[in-house]
């Protein structure tokens, strides 16, 4: 399973991910969505390691433009820009980039170890889950994603329910009756996921970037100064470890992706620091905390995806689609059916971590210049790749129509601050939720007591209740804070 080609694929993916992540305006989700169709036609031992490499590389790569031009390559690197760019402006660009690389590698390694240690035992517990437990688990995931994807729970709920409604298009999983196909044969298999994701994340991003047009970037000139010394690296270990724990914990929960982990890790590091006044002025601890927080999310987000088949964020949603395209059904049985393959992927994650050191150092020396690629060259090329990728999934022109519709809907959703992740993840989970719900109600004869009379179901019910209460409380606080005067900064 683990061959030289696998290593080459993972390395190529890592390099491609760093390249895409380093380009401002190209997000990690966009990278994985656009590149996923390429992997459908190659062996699973090449395709999935390639995508894992892209995911990991893109999250790290986002820190390069955050530090060099104060423009995060991905949303997950927003907190890195604060101290990273401040340090770069003081002529210590190499130190900032190497600190970011050191924290990323350390956090990634720790989180991968947690994934390897936790995933299989958790799967052996998850195998005891029946349909009612899965219903509650899906509802918990959807509630969390709807609640934390944006700053408005009701909008998140709208997006999630819209995803559930989109998912009913096609054939009923139990009876095989057609549902909302409007006589269109292509809709009988349901909405094609990958073209829709390409449209929602890549095409809509291109339209948003088109609005921005040409703009000047605040670049930092100079050679870069000295790099990170061993003494400095040792001093950063505690903060990196703490942020790795935060990132791993948040990554393993549905909905809480790298974008949130970086801010929480940064905030925690600042609160625990003996010199909090240095944060925002080029603190190495600030860079470490933000980067360790967001990179720890990558392996951890694979835990709910592999064990329960529940994607933690939009990138793992695309990865889930790629797993399914390769006939790998994520869920508790994945570890029983394909243990060698899964542990090969874990080995790839460790290996890409080692490769990240080499590629990261290469990127620090050479790739910071790619941030200067003009959007006029970048976005037309990405659009062509989007069309080729969407068409190639099923060799169908209808998939191109789905991608265009997804692009238009995604653009509209972004314009009114309607979160896209709940829609995408609900679309993915709907089929499982419907099956589990109908099976549960059949088992219980139509009553709801099956959801609280079984011990695991009761625990999950309490967890669901707690998360709903927390989200309502948060929404209440938000509405209270909104009623106060708000400072709006327009740049």
């Amino acid at each position: 399973m683990f061959t030289v080609i696998t290593i080459v694929a993972a390395g190529t993916g890592l390099l491609a991910g760093i390249f895409v992540g380093a380009l401002p305006g190209l997000t990690a989700t966009m990278a994985v969505a656009v590149l996923a169709p390429f992997t459908f036609f190659i062996d699973v031992t090449i395709g999935i390691p390639f995508l894992l490499g892209v995911y990991k590389g893109a999250i790290y790569g986002g820190s390069i433009p955050a530090i060099t031009i104060n423009t995060p390559g991905t949303a997950a690197s927003a907190a890195t820009a604060i101290d990273g760019h401040a340090l770069a402006r003081r002529g210590r660009i190499r130190l900032a980039l190497e600190t970011s690389l050191f924290a990323s590698v350390l956090a990634d390694l720790l989180s991968t170890i947690v994934l390897i240690m936790v995933a299989a035992p958790l799967a052996s517990i998850a195998i005891r889950f029946g349909p009612p437990e899965f219903v509650l688990l899906y509802l918990f995931a959807l509630t969390m994603i709807a609640g934390v994807s944006g700053d408005d729970f009701v909008k998140g709920l709208f997006s999630a329910v819209a995803g559930l409604l989109l998912a009913v298009i096609g054939l009923d999983p139990m009876s095989g009756y057609q549902r909302f196909t409007f006589g269109v044969t292509e809709l009988m298999g349901g909405i094609s996921l990958v073209p829709l994701l390409i449209g929602m994340f890549a095409l809509s991003e291109i339209l948003i970037q088109a609005e921005k047009g040409r703009r000047t970037q605040e670049t930092v000139a100079g050679h870069g100064g000295k790099g990170l010394s061993w003494r400095q690296a040792r001093a950063l270990i505690p903060v990196s470890l703490r942020s790795s724990v935060v990132g791993t914990g948040l990554g393993a929960l549905p909905g809480l992706g790298a974008e949130i982990a970086c801010w929480i890790s940064y905030g925690l590091a600042k609160r625990r620091s003996k010199r909090p006044q240095r944060f925002g002025k080029g603190s190495l601890a600030g860079i470490s905390a933000a980067e360790a927080g967001n990179n720890a999310v990558v392996p951890a987000a694979l835990i709910p995806m592999m064990v329960f088949g529940i994607p933690g964020d939009t990138i793992t949603a695309v990865l889930l689609g790629a797993f399914m395209a390769h006939d790998l059904m994520p869920g508790p049985l994945l570890f029983e059916r394909s243990p060698v393959l899964i542990y090969s992927f874990f080995a790839v994650l460790i290996l890409t971590n080692i490769l990240l050191i080499a590629f990261g150092l290469f990127a620090i020396r050479h790739m910071r210049h790619i941030t200067r690629i003009p959007p006029g060259l970048l976005y037309p090329a990405v659009t062509v790749l989007c069309f080729a990728g969407a068409f190639s999934v099923n060799n169908s022109s209808f998939d191109v129509v789905i991608m265009l519709a997804g692009g238009l809907i995604g653009y509209g959703m972004r314009k009114i601050d309607l979160p896209i992740p709940p829609l995408v993840i609900a679309l993915l989970l709907a089929s499982g939720l419907e099956n589990a719900l109908r099976q549960s109600l059949m088992l219980s004869g139509g009553t709801l007591d099956i959801f609280y009379t079984r011990p695991i179901a009761l625990t999950l019910m309490l967890l669901l209740g707690a998360s709903v209460s927390m989200l309502i409380w948060r929404q209440w606080n938000l509405r209270k804070s909104r009623s106060r005067p708000t400072k709006r900064v327009i740049q």
Partner: protein, 186 residues
């Protein structure tokens, strides 16, 4: 233009997380109203279409677990509930006092024009792909869209218009054995 609005503390005790806001975003109340109408139309539409789209089923399917209309009806009712929540917010809004600071919104109409032009180009490209073929359509699209994005270097555009379609053709048809759409040109 990027608007960063420090609206809330994401978690109590942690630093304020700037929520990126898209330019030209509408007021919250208008958005809520639009979404409430959309949710009513979606939820109501699904319920109304049940008899024609799922073999004579109706809203009563919500009581029948075995019915193929059970889950769509449940989803539609949930959507109506969301519409109700949004409508309540429109009727009883929270007063938001916003203090506007400096702005350098120099070209709002131009920005929209640019994104509209790219949108039209993408749509036309989508049509041309199946009329003249993927490769020539891509060449035309790159030449036109690069200029809309503000890139004017003739040689740069020319090189990109040759390299990217050739690369895509080689990658898909040569390496992955996936046929790309062909038309009357190629």
């Amino acid at each position: 233009m990027t608007q960063l609005i420090d609206r809330t503390r994401y978690w109590q005790g942690f630093p304020k997380m700037p929520v990126p806001k898209q330019e030209g975003a509408l007021d919250g109340r208008v958005v809520d109203l639009v979404l409430a109408i959309l949710a009513f139309v979606l939820g109501g539409g699904v319920l109304l279409l049940l008899p024609t789209q799922i073999d004579g089923e109706s809203i009563r399917a919500i009581t029948s677990i075995r019915s193929p209309a059970f889950f769509p009806a449940l989803g539609a009712l949930l959507m109506c509930l969301v519409a109700l929540l949004l409508a309540m917010r429109v009727i009883k809004p929270v007063s938001v006092k916003t203090v506007e600071h400096e702005t350098n919104d120099d070209d709002g109409a131009g920005n929209l024009m640019r994104s509209g032009s790219i949108g039209i180009l993408i749509f036309v490209y989508g049509l041309l792909v199946f009329v003249i073929g993927m490769i020539p359509a891509s060449v035309l699209f790159i030449v036109c869209s690069a200029r809309v994005f503000g890139y004017t270097n003739f040689w740069g555009i020319g090189a990109l218009a040759v390299v990217i379609p050739t690369l895509v053709h080689f990658l898909f048809e040569g390496l992955l054995n996936v046929l790309l759409p062909t038309g009357w040109v190629f």
